[in-house]
């Protein structure tokens, strides 16, 4: 008996071009910028050469910038961990009762659509100057979107899958663990990725408003002393934090959501 089409082609994008091209691009941009800036004689206050940026920032990094870099990383990372746990837990509880879902979804949408950074000044008023408040800021910045996407993930399930579970007489807990939860994973991870973005924004905005610590604060300092190279460098460092976080989530996603190619 012949089996027709066996295993379909796993068209994974392992194409080497996917990491060669960006690196080549980077090299080209850096070289072109270096040449252009030198040749055009732009004031270093406006746009320094890439080599200058690298040099000055490395110095600053070894001096004290690494501390602020780690500070932001810690704040964002811890804030996100709590937010993911909280967001998913709340969504899990709310999704059990249809009435609750209908009632609470508009509220969550409102929280997503209203920038939580509007609360940053007030939070300082309420809670003082403890540097750990920024973890709270990160938390409120990204919990709504994570909760919203998780809620959507838990409630959008095909009837056929639920029928399957019922045909086996599965208990509510079994249905949740084996069907509803795995089914929601793609949506959940989209929410977490968006959460990364909101949390980076929240953390840096908090730096600007509260001062004292963090890469955002350092940028303000560097602006005062016209240390433009370090400004660009700090921005790149922030971008690196956000990028790393995003890629970590993407990596975990590939391991968990095995079935979506």
């Amino acid at each position: 008996m012949t089996n027709k089409k066996p295993v379909k082609n796993k068209n994974k994008k392992r194409d080497p071009i996917n990491w060669i091209a960006p690196i080549v691009m980077l090299v080209i941009i850096v070289v072109v910028l270096e040449v252009l800036v030198r040749v055009s004689g732009i004031n270093r206050i406006v746009l320094p050469t890439p080599s200058a940026i690298f040099a000055f920032t490395s110095d600053a990094f070894l001096a004290d910038l690494w501390f602020h870099f780690l500070y932001n990383f810690k704040v964002i990372f811890v804030g996100m961990l709590i937010a993911v746990t909280l967001g998913m837990l709340l969504a899990a509880i709310c999704s059990q009762f249809n009435i609750v879902v209908k009632a609470i979804t508009p509220v969550v949408i409102l929280l997503v659509v209203t920038p939580m950074i509007t609360l940053i000044p007030l939070m300082q008023l309420w809670l003082g100057s403890n540097p750990n408040i920024r973890i709270l800021v990160v938390m409120i910045s990204c919990t709504p979107i994570i909760m919203l996407n998780t809620l959507t993930g838990f409630t959008n399930i095909e009837t056929s899958k639920l029928e399957l579970a019922r045909s086996m007489g599965a208990s509510k807990l079994q249905i949740f663990a084996k069907v509803i939860f795995p089914n929601a994973m793609p949506q959940v991870f989209t929410g977490i990725k968006l959460g990364c973005i909101f949390s980076t924004i929240g953390s840096v905005t908090a730096d600007f408003v509260y001062g004292m610590q963090g890469l955002g604060f350092k940028i303000q300092q560097y602006t005062k002393y016209v240390m433009t190279e370090q400004i660009y460098g700090s921005i790149i460092l922030i971008a690196i934090i956000g990028f790393l976080l995003y890629k970590i989530v993407a990596m975990i996603e590939k391991k968990v959501v095995i079935w979506k190619i």
């Binding site: 295993v7 029928e163 579970a165 045909s167 007489g169």
Partner: protein
């Protein structure tokens, strides 16, 4: 007289939505004996899917009683684990969970029913081998073909050794050749295991080939219109399709269904 395996007693199911009230099935009664291979045929909307879903406790009847081995299915509570374990349901749409491998999908009922041990693991191996899927047991549903997905659906419903198989147009979405192949495989399985099978199809030829008795259902409201004994020798083979008796049965059943269709138009 032995107790029938399955008994429907004046079962009615009414669906109420915001917009309308639908009587899916009305006053359906029939008995099925142990080891029978029975088919339900009829035009779409005649309630055949509703009937087996009522039996498998996916939905509850509005009126009437359903008995399995003489024991009634509770009307309000969920069906008892003992009763549900006796049944395996095979769906029309390939219904494998995409995040589980073939093997994990097949083992799913065992996990849900809490059946552990070597005997059951061996069962999984045996069934996977029986449908020729041993090579692909660690593949995901998105990686295998339609016919394979359907085979996995069939053995999943059998892995916990149910006495009753409920099949809702399981081969409808497949091409002719694969379907014929699977029909023969199914007859083979039935011959060896002597399970009680209820098979839903809209394909008259398939119904005659497989079953010993065919219930023809009608619409508006969904109900049983006729009961036809298929008196063809067993084991059934594909070349029976062109025999005179087979064709006569085909005509009879097609006419019965046609009358229903015509009466709809009137």
């Amino acid at each position: 007289m032995q107790e029938p395996k399955i008994k429907f007693n004046n079962v009615t199911k009414i669906f109420k939505t915001n917009r309308q009230t639908i009587t899916a099935v009305k006053d359906v009664s029939f008995n099925i004996d142990e080891g029978d291979f029975v088919s339900l045929i009829g035009p779409s909307g005649c309630g055949k899917s509703t009937v087996i879903r009522l039996l498998d406790d996916i939905i509850k009847p509005t009126q009437g009683d359903i008995y399995i081995d003489g024991e009634a299915i509770p009307k309000r509570k969920k069906i008892s684990p003992e009763q549900i374990k006796k049944m395996g349901f095979i769906f029309q749409q390939p219904n494998l969970l995409p995040w589980m491998t073939v093997r994990q999908n097949v083992s799913l009922p065992l996990k849900v029913f809490g059946l552990k041990g070597k005997k059951w693991d061996d069962n999984v191996d045996r069934l996977i081998e029986m449908v020729g899927m041993t090579e692909y047991e660690n593949a995901y549903p998105t990686e295998i073909s339609g016919g394979m997905v359907q085979r996995v659906g069939v053995i999943r419903a059998m892995v916990h050794d149910p006495e009753i198989l409920l099949m809702d147009e399981p081969f409808g979405a497949l091409d002719e050749m694969t379907r014929e192949q699977l029909n023969i495989e199914l007859l083979d399985i039935w011959r060896k295991t002597k399970k009680t099978i209820i098979f839903i199809t809209h394909n008259v030829e398939e119904a005659i080939l497989l079953s010993s008795k065919s219930y023809v259902m009608g619409t508006n409201p969904g109900r049983i219109v006729a009961e036809v004994d298929i008196d063809l020798p067993r084991p059934r083979t594909l070349d029976m399709i062109i025999t005179k008796k087979f064709i006569e049965y085909e005509e009879e059943l097609t006419n019965l269904i046609g009358e229903i269709d015509l009466s709809k138009i009137k």
